[in-house]
């Protein structure tokens, strides 16, 4: 029996009160409840406060470049279809620097869970606006306030055809954990946008700000794309949480012929046995 504590390692360098602690705890619980041994799990991330997660969760880890967690994850997926793959990164990482990968990854639909720690700000670099920052938010680099409207990651994912789209809040621990489990076990790309406060740099979207607005969607049909889109578009005074959409579609793994058998990693290989590939040139 694995316990949540078995997945905790390192000493997080996050600020006291940071929402990332709750996300880490929920992840450790989700992994324990799914009985996934650490050596069978890979946590892949980019750069940012959120992206430090591979250092604090006992599992394999690929802490790559800012914005590039998803491409790296696709490669890991291709190399070894047996591993459970989780991408953990911030809103800036996932939607800004890595925006192009976000879009194309949805098209590919590899089997992985993507947990975006959305604090609506660039935390690590000390408070610049992120693609999800609210209009008007004043920062050191947005001195007149953010001028462009925020990116809506969930609506974008739905429109791109993502099969699993959910929103959580770090303050709703049980819901977060359960949603993580559902995302990890979902066959295909599963996006969970996790709202959480940045106590140091986001003075607009505080814990209270979220707490006052979020509510759990009930009576929601997660197989209905239209109502999923409606939920995804709801933002402001009331912000819905829940699995908005859950309808599997063919995955990257199921479509790529080379991935139908055993994982590619570790397969024996002898170059001499390939000599016949030259025949087509004769």
């Amino acid at each position: 029996m694995l316990r949540p504590e078995d997945y905790l390692t390192g000493e997080p360098a996050w600020c006291p009160g940071c929402g990332n602690f709750a996300i880490r705890k929920a992840l450790s619980q989700a992994l324990a409840e799914l009985s996934l041994p650490p050596h069978r799990v890979v946590v892949c991330s980019g750069i940012g406060q959120a992206a430090k997660m591979p250092h604090y969760i006992q599992s394999n880890g690929f802490n790559g470049l800012h914005g590039r967690a998803l491409p790296a994850a696709l490669g890991i997926r291709a190399a070894n279809t047996d591993l459970t793959l989780i991408v953990e990164s911030g809103d800036g990482d996932s939607y800004g620097e890595g925006g192009n990968h976000f879009i194309h990854n949805i098209r590919r639909n590899p089997n992985l869970a993507h947990f975006v720690h959305n604090n609506q700000v660039y935390g690590l670099t000390k408070g610049q606006a992120s693609p999800t920052s609210q209009m008007g938010m004043v920062t050191g680099t947005q001195t007149e306030g953010v001028l462009a409207p925020p990116l809506n990651p969930l609506a974008l994912a739905l429109v791109m055809g993502a099969g699993f789209v959910a929103r959580c809040f770090s303050g709703e621990a049980e819901h977060l954990k359960e949603t993580m489990k559902a995302a990890i076990t979902f066959p295909g790309y599963a996006l969970v946008d996790i709202l959480h406060p940045c106590v140091s740099f986001n003075k607009v979207n505080t814990f209270k700000w979220y707490r006052d607005r979020v509510f759990l969607l009930d009576d929601h049909d997660a197989s209905n794309w239209q109502s999923a889109l409606e939920a995804a578009r709801q933002w402001g005074e009331r912000i819905p949480l829940g699995i908005f959409y859950r309808v599997p579609r063919p995955t990257f793994e199921s479509a790529v012929p080379a991935l139908q058998g055993k994982p590619l990693a570790g397969q024996p290989f002898n170059p001499a046995s390939l000599s016949r590939v030259q025949e087509e040139f004769l």
């Binding site: 050596h39 890991i76 047996d82 397969q267 004769l282």
Partner: protein
Amino acid sequence: MEVNVLIGGAAGQGMETVMHMLGKALAREGYLFIATKDYMSRVRGGHNFSRLRIAAERPWSPVDTADILVAMNAETYRLHEKNLGRDGRILFDPARFSLPEEEGRGLPVPFEELAREAGDPIMANSVAVGALWALLDLNLDRLPGIIEESFRGKEEVIRGNIAALEKGYREAASRCENCFAMPPAGTGKLMYIDGNQVLGMAALASGCRFFAAYPMTPATGIMTYLAGKSTAHGLVVEQAEDEIAAINMALGASYGGVRSMTATSGGGFSLMVEGLSLAGMTETPLVVTVAMRPGPATGLPTRTEQGDLDFVLKAGHGEFPRAVLSATTHEDAFFRLNKAFELADRYQAPVLFLSDQNFADTHRSLEPFDFSRLGHNRCLAEAADVEKPYKRYRYREDGISPRLLPGTLPGEVVLVDSDEHDERGNIIEDAKTRRAMMDKRLKKDALLAAEMDEPGVYGPGEGDYLLLGWGSTYGVLREAVDLLGREGLKGTLLHFSDLWPLPKTRLGDLFPRAGKTFCAENNATGQFAALIRRETGLQVDHNILKYDGRPFFPEEIAAEVKKHAAT
């Protein structure tokens, strides 16, 4: 004894098919030849041409003069009439254009009309192939089989094209009996293969199981080859959304446990450099093939240059070890790309493989390669020998930490990090660990240096001149040495395949014994000569540089050497 053919036409006139049929048929007859391609970055129109040189001894490069000019359009005649030797002939379609009155070398064959008779004017290119085959005095038997293979299943197309071939053949044969004496053919079938196919095949046979790239000329052929093999040979070929994704995917796959590669040209490589640095920091094996074309920016997309050497040597922020190898001849490149995979795995470092358009698009007839010479040593840690807890970056005398694949050892995890890290892979900031990790990684420099092959020597090792070169210019420089030899100037070619860490022993040996020293490069600033000077203090007397997007000809090199060697 040799025959040189220049075939030109507009994009869209089926030039590719012509060259494919000719090349394949000549290779099956065992002829030794080289075929190069000069084409424009457009899909229709423009002017494209190929040079075909068939010789009794292996031809190392094409030559500028042609014995037969196959002019599919008037422009080919206009542009290349000057290339024709005295006894040359011009094969052309009189319905397309007419030759000047005084032009006595014309050999009109109505390509389109005969094609129409065979069923469709679109088969004019098959008529041209038949006609050329007759001029070369070859047996027609070989060609129909190649048409059958190319159009398998399309009976009518096959019948039509064979009829077109025969018509062209008969027409030309009746007009020019024994026009050209072909060099003797070899005894066995040879492969007809270009540089990109050689590299694709080398990657496949090296056990590469993941390839991600974004299409970019002249590297795309590698991807095309591998994609064609992916289903049958169980490899994943992913067309990434951009080159940034491509290199990060390849790194992920390598971490996950398979040999992986990406390929691109300069512009795409510019986007990859942060990923290259990540390979250095995370000590993840990776092969990156860079097929150079002239820059800056988009430059000349379909042409050749050796302008990215400096870039590739230094690409990526921070200091980390790498190896840079290059494609010289097709055979050498086949085994050298395998070496790139071997080095990447053994030293857990990025290995760059430099090709260029000149190499990528050049076809040759070649004996099949000996695949038993290829290596597949993954240099992974044996689970039983792993010291616990497993630490991905455990300090070792030689700087190489035992590498375990994630998921293979219960209880042990593999953590890699783009941040500076400790032995476990955890992010750190303390000065002591930073120094230790830098030192650990940089130890690989010396190890890689010991793996570099000394440059190849062609010639006596001394003489009036020492000619230096690297990469795809090997053939042309070797021919230049022969040419100079025939004119009484004796000298030596020292040609580099492995570029970084720069192998220095032979340089040190031969430089002092040389008369004048030359370095020939397809770039404007003499990057390799500068590298030699930086690394050894040796100063080349003359740079021979060409940066108009076209490859060198032996005559150009020989003329430059002659001009300066005497003085």
